[in-house]
Amino acid sequence: MTLPDLTAADLQPVLPALVLAAGASVLLLSEVFLTTASRSHLALIALGSSVLAGGVALATAFEPAHAVFQGLAVQDPFSSFVTVVVCLGLAGVVLLSADFLKQRQAERGEYYALMLFAAAGMSLLAMSAELITLFINLEVLSVSTYALTAFLRRGPRPAEAAFKYFILGAFSAALFLYGSALLYGVTGTTRLADMVGPLRTAMHTQPWLATCALALVAAGFAFKVAAVPFHMWAPDVYEGAPTPVTALMSAGVKAAAFAGLVRVFLFLGRADPEVVALALSALAVLTMVGGNLLALPQRNVKRMLAYSSIAHAGYLLLGVAALFPHPGTGVLAATPLMLGSPAVNSADAYKGILFYLLAYTVSSVGAFGVLSVLERHADGDGATAWDLDRFSGLAQRRPGWAVAMAAFMLSLAGIPPTVGFMGKLLVFRAAVDSGLLGLAIIGVLASAAGAYYYLRIVVYMFMRPAPAEGVLPEKYWATELALVASAVAVVALGVLPGRVADWLSQSGMFFGTR
C-alpha cells in the first residue's frame, strides 16, 4: 500500500464534511477564548456552517459519480443529496436547540460542536465505499451522539438513556466490525467494489462463513436504523435524550445509516441478491407492522414519535428492498395482479428513498420542535412533560403551533397534501414496480393503522378544551423560524414536489451501477 499525495482537488469531494468540522473547531475554540456572557453567536456559527455545507453539497450534487481517495470513498449524487438532507435537518435542529438550551442555562460550544462533528460523520458515511472507512465514520457520528444524549446530565434520565444508547450502539458496531473482519477474510479486501466477485465465489466455497459475515453486517445496520427486532433501545433513548438531540437522531442519524446500508448492500447484495432481498423484505415487514402497532397505545408523545420513527424505518427498508429484483416466487410477492415479469428501475427506488428521507427529516424535525416548545414549562423531566394532555386545546392557545403540528402529523401519517404522502407514494410505487406488491399492501395497511395515533394528537389539539391552569409557552424567534420553515416545506413539497423530485432522479447515477 502506497500513501497517496493529496492535493486540494482531492479534498474537494469531502468539502461539506470539512466545512462542518471547521465550524465545530471554531465553536470549540470560541469556548476557550471568548469569555462573554452572551452565547447566542454559538447557534449562529453552527447554523452558518450547516447551511454552507449543505450549499456546497448541493452544488456538487449533479456531478457524475466517481471514486475518490483511491476508492476508499465515492462521490455520487446519492451521497451529495444525503449530505444536503443531513445539513437541512441539522440547521432545523440547531434553530430548535438555541432556545431549548437557553431555557436550561446549558448553552455551550461543545453541544453545537458535537452536532457538527456528528453531521460531518454522517456526510462521510454516505460517501464511504470501504469497510474500515465506513466503520470509522459510523463511530464518529455515534460517539458524538452518545455524548449529546448525556448532555443535560443532571437528571437521571439522560444518563440512563445515554448509557443504553452507548452499550447497544457499541454492541452493534462490534457486530458490524466482526462481520467486516470475516468479509475481509473471505474476500481478501475491504473495498466494497472489489469485494463483489470474490464474495460471489465465497458464497459457494465457504457458504457458512460468507453468510455469517453478511448477517453480522446486516444486524449491525439493523441496530443503527432501529429495525424490528433490533429496535428495543430506540424508545428509551429517544425519550431520555434532550428533545432537539432526539430530532437529530431521528432525522440525521437515520438518513446517514440508511445511506450506509444502501451503499453496502448494493455491492454485497450482488453476491446473492435473492437472500439479501428476502432478508430486507422480512425486516421491512416486521418493522412497518411492529413500529406502528407498538406506537398505538402510547400516550407519551415523545415515546410515540420514537415508535413512529421505527415504523418509518420500515417504509425506508421497503424502498431499499425495492432496489433488488424480486422474481415473484416468494409468498408475499406472488399475487395475481402482477402482469409480466417485474423490472427493477433503480433510479425510481433511489428517488423514493431520498425523497422519503427528505420528507421524514422535515416532518420529524418539526414534530419534535413543537414537542420541545411545549415541554419547556414542564417541571423537571418527568414523563408527564410529553403527555398527550399537554396538546389539549393547543389550537385556542397557540393556533400557529397547532396548525404546524397538524401539518407534521398529517405528513408523518402520509395524508395528502403533505410531503409525507409524496414520499410514501414514491417508495410504494418503486416497491410495486420491482414486484413487491404484497409488501406494499402491508405497508399501506400499516400506515393506515398508524394514522390513528397521529390524528389523535390533532383531535386533542383542536377538539379538547384547554386546561385552565396551564402557563402559555413563550415564543422565541429561532424556534418559530424552524417551525414555520418546516411547516412550509412540508406543505410546499407535498403540493409541488416536481422540481425536487426531478433533482433526486439524478441520484440514479449511483456509483457502481452500470
Binding site: 444518563a159 448509557f163 424508545p235
Partner: protein, 102 residues
C-alpha cells in the same frame, strides 16, 4: 517459531466474540458490560490480524490500528457516561436503570 495456524486464531477470536456477546446480554454491572463490548471489538481485531497474516497483505494490520484508535475514543465517552450514571444514581447496576417505562 512456528506460526499459529489460521483456524486456531479464528476459533479463539470467535470464542472471545461469543463470550463478549453473551456477557453484554447477561451481566448486570455496567462496567463488566462495557468490558464485554471491548472484548468483542478485540475479537474482531484478532480476526483482522489473523486474516492479514494468512493473506499476506497489510490492509488487516492497518485496520486493526484504526479500530484500536476508534475503540479508545469510544471508551473515553463510555466511561464518562458510566460516571454520569453513577453520579445520578449512586450505582452502576443495570437492574436499577428503569426510570423509563412503556
Amino acid at each position: 517459531m512456528l506460526p499459529v495456524p489460521l483456524p486456531h486464531t479464528l476459533a479463539l477470536a470467535a470464542v472471545l466474540f461469543c463470550l463478549g456477546m453473551v456477557g453484554v446480554m447477561v451481566r448486570r454491572n455496567a462496567l463488566v458490560v462495557f468490558m464485554c463490548v471491548e472484548l468483542m471489538l478485540n475479537a474482531a481485531n484478532l480476526t483482522f490480524l489473523a486474516f492479514a497474516q494468512a493473506h499476506g497483505d497489510t490492509t488487516g494490520h492497518v485496520s486493526a490500528f484504526f479500530v484500536i484508535a476508534v475503540a479508545a475514543a469510544e471508551a473515553s465517552v463510555g466511561l464518562a457516561i458510566v460516571i454520569a450514571v453513577f453520579r445520578s444514581r449512586g450505582t452502576v447496576n443495570l437492574e436499577e436503570l428503569k426510570t423509563m417505562k412503556h
